[in-house]
């Protein structure tokens, strides 16, 4: 018979609140049932939860009685609202006709103590059954109440654990969302189209959850000049992400006032030094390459400044790979009077330029040694990429091949000048 009233509705809400009850079972409840049976010197005991349409037996000792009997007696106990004793089931209006009372195993005696939440809602009961009619002693009933209390305590612990896990899961999901959002703000959504130039960029994270401090951008300057940069902020996580944003926007803003690459890096250094003046040690810093592209004939003039960053590599139209690296550029943001080096070069038709972060060059090769600039140079020379997209694919293949040897995020920015289109008359195969 279903229990129905507003009080029942709030009781069922309590049952649902203990969501952990859905999976409630286990040795602790089995022991409670066994102890209840022993205290009463009775053959059967159960722990039951009265849900909205079923009574669930979460632990049983001895021969489990037929479900119908358990259900009606547990419901009766819950409705009764206190210790509940049926001295002889054959005389009980609801139980007398039950097959488990009339036939096997012939239940006669039933006693229950309610499992009650701290705010007074009965979730179910600890039940004892015997095959002979009898009375329940005060001491036995007190023990049964204590056992029901133990079951409630166990539920409370499970609920608290369940909630903690839920909260942690939510926090973690929130942190991952934040990390992904921040990550997106650190990298430009798409590179602009630069006339006469191909540009491509990629970011190879080691972990999907952790925000790295790698950054890059390509953007218009005054006239027909373009600025670009790529770098790496030390550290990981939200702190590094915040610093990366600062670095990105400082580089963009500094280039508006004075696009001279050396001046841009000096400006960034001053901003980072101020940012961390008097802050806790060690002060965060970054490494970066900043460059300016100036269209020049069928190619571009490139002026590059670096601060503590691995060399940019030019892949020439003839397949040669060479560093474009001003010697001696130092870390940005933590040194006194740091030196930033600058160099000028040309990208001719068919040339490409690769900027990368040290996640690539500090990766371990299968032999255990660091890939380094030499390893990267040799790989590029062998692969012979001919465009920015090609370069990116080559680096992607290399990172894939290095596998677990890569231990840090890698950002890659590739620029290339399309090869000159040859007219038939300019070739060596003259008309015969």
């Amino acid at each position: 018979m279903p229990l129905a009233s507003s009080a029942e509705a709030s009781r069922l809400a309590a049952v649902r609140r203990y969501a952990a009850l859905e999976t409630a079972s286990g040795a602790a409840f089995d022991r409670v049932a066994a102890l209840a049976a022993r205290i009463f010197r009775a053959p059967f005991a159960t722990v039951t939860i009265a849900g909205d349409d079923t009574v669930r037996v979460i632990a049983a000792h001895g021969l489990p009685p037929r479900r119908g009997l358990v259900e009606s007696l547990c419901e009766a106990a819950v409705r009764h609202g206190g210790p509940y004793v049926v001295q002889d089931a054959r005389l009980h209006p609801h139980a007398a006709g039950d097959p488990a009372v009339r036939g096997e195993p012939g239940i006669r005696f039933y006693a229950a103590a309610l499992i009650t939440t701290p705010d007074g809602e009965a979730l179910g009961s600890v039940n004892v059954m015997d095959v002979r009619p009898r009375e329940a002693g005060d001491e036995e009933l007190a023990c049964l109440r204590d056992l029901a209390g133990l079951v409630m305590d166990e539920f409370e612990v499970r609920l608290a654990t369940h909630r903690t896990v839920e909260v942690e899961r939510e926090l973690r999901a929130g942190a991952e969302r934040l990390a992904r959002t921040l990550q997106r703000t650190l990298l430009p959504p798409a590179l602009p189209r630069v006339p006469g130039l191909r540009a491509a960029a990629a970011y190879h994270p080691v972990s999907a959850d952790e925000v790295g401090g790698d950054f890059y951008d390509l953007f218009p300057l005054d006239g027909d000049r373009w600025g670009f940069f790529l770098g790496d902020v030390c550290g990981k996580g939200a702190g590094a992400a915040a610093l990366t944003s600062l670095v990105r926007y400082t580089l963009r803003a500094a280039a508006v006032y004075d696009a001279d690459p050396h001046a841009v890096l000096a400006n960034l250094d001053a901003v980072l030094q101020q940012e961390h003046a008097g802050g806790e040690a060690p002060a965060p810093y970054c490494t970066a390459v900043f460059g300016v592209l100036q269209p020049d004939g069928d190619g571009f003039g490139v002026t590059l400044a670096t601060g503590g960053h691995p060399p940019a590599l030019a892949v020439r139209a003839n397949g040669a790979v060479e560093p474009i690296h001003p010697a001696g550029g130092q870390l940005i943001g933590i040194l006194r009077n740091p030196h930033f080096a600058q160099v000028s070069a040309r990208l001719n038709a068919g040339d490409a330029l690769l900027l990368y972060t040290d996640g690539l060059t500090e990766a371990r090769t299968p032999s255990g040694s660091m890939l380094d600039e030499d390893g990267l140079t040799a790989y590029l020379a062998a692969a012979g990429p001919t465009s920015a997209d090609d370069l990116l694919t080559t680096v992607h293949d290399l990172i894939t091949a290095l596998g677990k040897g890569v231990s840090d995020d890698t950002a890659v920015l590739a620029l290339s000048v399309p090869p000159a289109t040859r007219t038939p008359s300019s070739g060596s195969l003259g008309a015969a």
Binding site: Y285, P310, Q330, M370, D372
Partner: protein, 119 residues
């Protein structure tokens, strides 16, 4: 990548000559606070120099580098020398790319660093 090599830091103060800080293992953001604490204990002054023996260093991340740079600046402020010795070639290469070879003095061994100070 997991760096499981831990970190040991021990300071030796001989009766004569510079103090020697022996650092071995992995220097990363988990272990660097131990190096920082050890360096914070070192008082620098004119002639009160420090040689940091890094020959047992197997890994050094950005926080380790920042800590060494900060200690070097503190030593320089106190007119003392902080010398690095025994860096393996990979870590030396990273320091060089960062332009730290212009700032810090590297020696192949602690003995060489000590000799350089006694000149």
């Amino acid at each position: 990548m997991q760096h499981d090599n831990g970190l040991t830091v021990s300071l030796q103060s001989p009766s004569s000559g510079p103090r020697l800080l022996v650092v071995a293992g992995d220097l990363d953001h988990h272990t660097t606070p131990r190096l920082r604490a050890a360096l914070d204990e070192v008082e620098f002054g004119p002639g009160a120099d420090l040689v940091v023996d890094l020959s047992g260093l197997t890994f050094c991340d950005s926080t380790g580098i920042a800590t060494l740079v900060a200690a070097h600046q503190r030593a320089a402020d106190a007119a003392a020398a902080l010398l690095l010795a025994g860096l393996n070639s990979d870590i030396a290469r990273v320091f060089q790319i960062m332009g730290l070879d212009q700032l810090l003095r590297f020696y192949d061994s602690p003995e060489e660093a000590v000799r350089a100070l006694s000149k």
